[in-house]
């Protein structure tokens, strides 16, 4: 059965919905910018210190910004019944969900990658370190979307789901944070980032294989 048309249909639909209501996306982006701006204000403007905390700070801001968008992943479709139609559709649900997750990354993750150089300059990162940071975000943010989707699906229709999803998902984000921020740190320290990127890539492949499947199972439980 051809699954690609279903994947792209789901992806296109979600992107179209976002384009019709752009503010929601921009909110998450502004959140990222504001959090990374607050950090130097709270910690102090010494360039040495800022350079040191930059990878971790930007990665944590990226985690939180991705978390903001997770709620939107299924909530609206759940409310208006689209999700039930997806479950009933003859196309495999995991493919449709993979399309939605990809759309979430294009909307919430990719802009962070593109914004990273600007924030990196604020933190006085050297140009080559910014390149590594962007690359680590490019590999790492899809991972965040895939893992987050499981949490978003599990908390669908639960009470206080906005807070709950962060409690469920943030501990699972720890490996991504460690290897993502670690890549930049070890590059700056002159140790090279290849090992971190290999692990990040391995985690991404693992998540791409299993997360849509687990998300589908969670959605079926939520829609029972």
């Amino acid at each position: 059965m051809p699954v690609l048309p279903a994947f792209f249909a789901s992806l296109q639909r979600d992107l179209l919905l976002v384009m019709r209501r752009k503010t929601e996306v921009l909110t998450a982006l502004f959140f990222f910018v504001i959090v990374t701006t607050l950090l130097p204000l709270g910690i102090g403007p010494e360039p040495d210190l800022l350079r040191k905390i930059a990878p971790g700070a930007m990665w944590i801001a990226a985690l939180l910004a991705t978390l903001l968008g997770l709620q939107r992943l299924f909530a609206a479709d759940h409310a208006d019944g689209t999700l039930e139609q997806m479950v009933l559709s003859p196309e495999p649900l995991s493919v449709l969900i993979a399309g939605k997750i990809t759309a979430h990354w294009l909307v919430c993750g990719l802009p962070l990658v593109l914004l990273a150089p600007v924030i990196g300059l604020q933190f006085d990162l050297p140009a080559d370190a910014i390149g590594i940071l962007m690359l680590s975000l490019l590999v790492g943010t899809p991972l965040l979307s895939f893992i987050g989707a499981i949490g978003a699906a599990l908390t669908l229709g639960a009470r206080g789901s906005a807070l709950l999803v962060s409690l469920l998902v943030l501990p699972l984000y720890i490996p991504t944070l460690i290897f993502g921020a670690g890549a930049v740190e070890s590059y700056i320290a002159g140790m090279g980032a290849a090992g971190h990127f290999s692990l990040l890539g391995a985690l991404l492949i693992l998540a791409m294989a299993f997360a849509p499947w687990a998300t589908t199972a969670a959605l079926r439980i939520s829609l029972e």
């Binding site: 499981i150 599990l154 908390t155 229709g157 639960a158 009470r159 206080g160 789901s161 709950l164 409690l167 469920l168 943030l170 501990p171 699972l172 720890i174 490996p175 460690i178 290897f179 670690g182 740190e185 070890s186 692990l199 985690l203 299993f210 687990a214 199972a217 969670a218 439980i221 939520s222 029972e224």
Partner: protein, 247 residues
């Protein structure tokens, strides 16, 4: 051969659990007294750490149990999702608070032990950090379970979460371990501990068995309560001797 599926129904499991609970409480008491006696009076004073090390007899078994209980929860979850048995979800949610308790106990005793030995309540050691994350995973499970009103749905969602968690625990452990070696040298090495006196090992093993019996007793008691709560309207509950007496 015993028909295990017979006891997968709450109506048959409830009386069985009722019979087992006193057994496990007795075991807890006996093993606990023996274990504490060994740990306080038999085990020798440590050459380097003095008497302070004796907290190990609570600390290590509690850590073991916190990890073991999470695996048991994942086992019940897998069983529940495959066979769709009601009992599995009840057992998983009955085990979670005890697991969280042991994770907390392990962190707390670790802090109490770490202060005199390392001079710090907390160090970012891989084991400490992953124990803390395990504690978060327990809290996440309980929060999710409590947030979903329909108990069957809560069970199934929780089961999926604990399975996702159990896949992630090794990944988290190794990532934290690697992060730790990258950041700080081996300022605190828990792995290179000097070889232990055999009485110390026995003390820890017996305490671990005591905790095990305690976990079983408490989890079965909790599971019985959950069963009564959920199945209050069924015939078998109405015919229970304890229910009849109070009615």
């Amino acid at each position: 051969m015993i028909n295990w599926f017979k006891y997968s129904a709450p109506s048959t499991f409830y009386p069985l659990a009722g019979k087992l609970i006193p057994v496990f409480w007795t075991l807890t008491a006996i093993l606990g007294v023996v274990g504490l006696y060994i740990s306080f009076f038999v085990a020798p004073t440590d050459a380097q750490q003095g008497e302070g090390y004796r907290i190990i007899f609570i600390h290590v078994p509690a850590s073991w149990m916190s990890m073991f209980i999470y695996c048991v929860m994942a086992f019940w979850s897998l069983l529940g999702l495959t066979f769709n048995t009601r009992l599995s979800g009840m057992m998983t949610s009955a085990l979670a608070p005890t697991g969280a308790l042991f994770a907390f106990l392990s962190l707390w005793t670790g802090a109490l032990w770490g202060k005199p030995m390392w001079g710090a309540w907390w160090v970012w050691d891989a084991r400490l950090t992953s124990e803390l994350i395990l504690f978060f995973l327990y809290l996440g499970y309980m929060a999710l379970h409590a947030a979903i009103d329909d108990p069957r749905r809560a069970d199934r969602a929780g089961a999926l979460l604990s399975l996702v968690g159990v896949v992630n625990v090794p990944i988290i452990y190794f990532s934290v371990k690697w992060w730790n070696t990258l950041h700080q040298g081996a300022s605190v090495s828990l792995t290179k501990s000097p070889s232990m006196a055999s009485t110390m090992l026995w003390g820890m093993l017996i305490m671990a068995l005591a905790f095990w019996a305690y976990t079983l007793a408490v989890a079965l008691m909790r599971a019985r309560t959950i069963m009564l709560e959920r199945e209050a309207n069924t015939e078998w509950v109405k015919h229970l001797p304890d229910v009849k007496e109070t009615a």
